[in-house]
Every structure is written in structure tokens, then in C-alpha cells.
Amino acid sequence: MSAAVVVGLALAGGLGSVARYVLDGWLTARRPGPFPLATLVINVLGSQLLGLLTGLVLFHGAGDGWRVVLGTGFCGGFTTFSTASWASVQLVRAGRRDLAALNVVGSLALTTLAAVLGLALAAL
């Protein structure tokens, strides 16, 4: 992997993280509540974008450098597993096992569906 791709990947990861932070702050201010909706929305959007990028490489022979920069970099920095896991633990601690279960199951189901949708979009 060329040095330019590694630099691009790192910068895209920083940009994805900032996009996550800003969108999280914006969504949480508009839809406050115990359920970590913002993180779920972010993970669904990022999974769909990565599905689309992966499909463009698989079905249309798009360059792998782009997948690394936009996929591993931007989508990887944008989506997060640690915050989602921590949020579920906090819900359990707050006595909201129902919301924790919804977050765990809903996150896996919706992000997988979004990734399928992204791949399908690329196959069109």
C-alpha cells in the first residue's frame, strides 16, 4: 500500500470521526432520550456506504485505494463499535435491559441490512 494511501486513510479516518462527533451532537440535541439513537443512525449510514464502496470494488473493479481511503478510513472512523457497546452497558446499569437488548439486536440487524442494501445499490 502506497504512502499516499496510508496518509489518505488516516486523514479520512480523522474526518469520519469529526463527522460522527458533529452528527451525534446534532441528532442527540434534537432527539434526546435514553436510547443511543445517534450512534445507531451513524452506524447504519456508515455500513450502507461501506457496502456500496465494497460493491463498487467487487462488481465494477473500482480501485482498491479508494476502498481503503473511503471505506477503511472514512467509514471506519465514522462508525464505532466501542461507543455502541458502552451505551448498551450504561442502559443495563440504568435498569433499561429492554433498551440495551433493542440496541444490541437492532444495531446488528439494521447495519447488516444497510450493508446488503449498499452492495445491492452497487450491483445495479
Binding site: A10, G14, G46, S47, C75, T83, S85, S107, T111, G118
Partner: protein, 140 residues
């Protein structure tokens, strides 16, 4: 017209901390992925290891910070740099979701489903373990 104070998620200093952590976390995740390449049709160990280590460390960090006091000053800067930025970017959900789908596409839907379920449940356990370690450290 006076716009009032900026909300936290639009303060330049906060954005710079998140971006810096995000660059470092992304590079660290990429390094782990290079060290642990996924065999064709096999379990994506790099993503799993990255996500579990990150979830454990985030549980530990956020619990230690919350025990230390208010989310302000140095504590808030540490949360944005190390939590939101570094660990947020080190771990990833999009790669997990796409890997689940690709395993299914490669004729291993059972492994894909197992990988997804094991990831989210062990992620929960890892974050809880981080919190518990922080609680123990506090008591000792």
C-alpha cells in the same frame, strides 16, 4: 443578532481533539488489519480483536473519567481525544456489518451470523469488563 455560545459539537478545539484521536485510531486499526489478514472465507479476527480491545478500553476510560468528576477541562479533553476520537475510530461497525454480509455471500451465512452475534455480545462483555476494572481500581 447574537448566535449565543457554540454547542459543544461545533467548538474548534473539541473538533481538533476528535480529529487527532480519529487519525491515530484509524492508523492503529489499519495496522492490526495488516498484521492479522483474514483468510478467504474465514473469521475476520482483526476486526473482532480491534472491536473487543476498543470496547474494553472505552469502558475503562469513561468509567475512570466519570469517577474523577465533572466532564470539564482536562477530563473532557481526554474523553474527546481518547474516547470519541481514538477509540471511536479504532473500533468500527461498518467493517463488521460488511464482513457479516460477505461471509454470507461467500456461502458461509452461518459463520457470518455467528461472527456478528459473537461480536456484539462479547463487545457488551468487554465494555462491562472495562467498567468493572475501573470500579475495582477505584476501590483498591
Amino acid at each position: 443578532m447574537h448566535p449565543g455560545p457554540r454547542p459543544p459539537h461545533l467548538q474548534p478545539r473539541a473538533l481538533a481533539l476528535v480529529a487527532t484521536g480519529g487519525v491515530l485510531g484509524t492508523l492503529a486499526r489499519y495496522a492490526v488489519a495488516r498484521l492479522l489478514p483474514t483468510p478467504a472465507g474465514g473469521l475476520p479476527a482483526a476486526t473482532l480483536v480491534t472491536n473487543l480491545v476498543g470496547a474494553f478500553l472505552l469502558g475503562l476510560l469513561l468509567e475512570l473519567l466519570s469517577q474523577a468528576g465533572a466532564d470539564a477541562g482536562r477530563a473532557r479533553q481526554a474523553r474527546l481525544l481518547l474516547g470519541t476520537g481514538l477509540l471511536g475510530a479504532f473500533t468500527t461497525w461498518s467493517t463488521l456489518a460488511v464482513e457479516v454480509v460477505l461471509l454470507g455471500r461467500d456461502g458461509r451465512p452461518g459463520l457470518g451470523l455467528t461472527y456478528g452475534v459473537v461480536s456484539v455480545l462479547s463487545g457488551l462483555a468487554a465494555a462491562a469488563a472495562g467498567v468493572l476494572v475501573a470500579v475495582r481500581l477505584r476501590r483498591s
